[in-house]
Amino acid sequence: MTPTRPQTEQEKFGRHRPLTDRDAHEINRIEELSYDLKVREVMAHNVITTSPEVPLASALELLRVNRISGLPVIEKGRLVGVVSLEDIVRALQKNELPLPVKNYMSTSLVTVKATDSVVEAIKTFSEKRLGRLLVVDENHNLTGIITKGDITRGILLAVQHDYKEEEVRRYRASHLFEDIVSDRTTLVLRYNIKAGDFTHGGNASSNIKRALLRLGADFQVARRCGIAAYEAEMNLIIHTTHGGILKLEVEPHKIILSTNDDGPGIDDVQKVLQPGYSTATDEVRAMGFGAGMGLVNINKCVDKMELESAHGKGTKLVMRIFISSETLNGKKATP
């Protein structure tokens, strides 16, 4: 590694990008990163430049001292060319090192934008077979320089960062039940669900699924709980007067999901359990809800479901999932 090389943004600030559930479950996203990472995050910022009138011998000395292989050429603040080691070798063959840089520099400039994805730079590299690309801002001013090595380093750092972050989270969470000693440990998560809040519909259940994966639940268990939680969450949004609470209780061998609301309550509990029965309005149906399958789905996903309701009072739905000893006790989850 070159000691003079300036830090990239990546090294200085790290990356903060939300991981999807799948990422959380299995981290394998080098290709995705090449789309996510921007050129400015991996490029070198403090670019060493030269000017057109400087003798090639001095340019060679700059390359040697800084251990680099190319120099952008700047004239009156404007980017006019690039001189590379190959150009200097050509000059050397003709004994023309005392001549100015402008005689040998290349003026067909290949640039990438600082805001481009790294994948754009990779494409340009493979098309043009160049060692370095000039990075410019929207006004075509030079802001950095990028090599294939910078890209490799940037991606490796990003992968390492993502991986570490998720590993640490998973590790901490999955040892919760081992680390805290009691006769019976229960982790309780509560989510307040607002009536009619379609904009946030599914957020709580998505968080529930993520939490279970981090706690070490296997993928199928997390998926079943996620689906049940989603249907229950949407029921609170669609059918209640004031919304309600969605609660997740996790113990090493069982998961209890429940919802509580204060109305309007269900007239006929048997009827709502029939597939296809729905009381949803036409408006809600137009969005694809109200298929009359919500509770039916929940029943399929969980091991035990209890529904209690009284018209004019409210509804309590309890869903239980029993899990084998292999998960949620600190042992590694199976994908």
Partner: protein
């Protein structure tokens, strides 16, 4: 068959951020506009074909880890929906064709 090939052959418009679609291999598909049916019927890595284009499809797609959502009949999701899909890693694709046609073509392409 990878998702890039499917996008090319069906001439689908990519609504969410570009990424390497060649690394995604959809396994079969599921078509419905009723979200609860999708919850019950769609599997991991399925393509989900629907003409729903509102925000809530993202939660469903993300919960089920479907390979991608193909929105038919030119239904246009709003910006919030696309942003949320990007946030959650959900791929949204769009076409002017009917769901029926898309399913037919996919079936012929042996995405079953």
């Amino acid at each position: 068959m990878n998702l890039q090939t499917i996008i090319d052959q069906l001439q689908l418009t990519i609504l969410t951020e570009p990424r390497d679609f060649t690394s995604i291999t959809p396994q079969g598909g599921y078509a419905s506009d009723l979200l609860s049916c999708v919850m019950a019927g769609a599997k991991n890595d399925n393509l989900w074909i629907t003409l729903q284009a509102h925000l809530n499809i993202v939660a469903v797609a993300s919960m089920l880890d479907v390979a991608a959502v193909i929105i038919t009949e030119n239904a246009q999701p709003d910006e919030a929906t696309i942003n949320k899909a990007n946030e959650q890693g959900v791929i949204l694709l769009s076409t002017h064709k009917f769901s029926y046609e898309i399913c037919g073509i996919l079936w012929e392409m042996n995405i079953r």
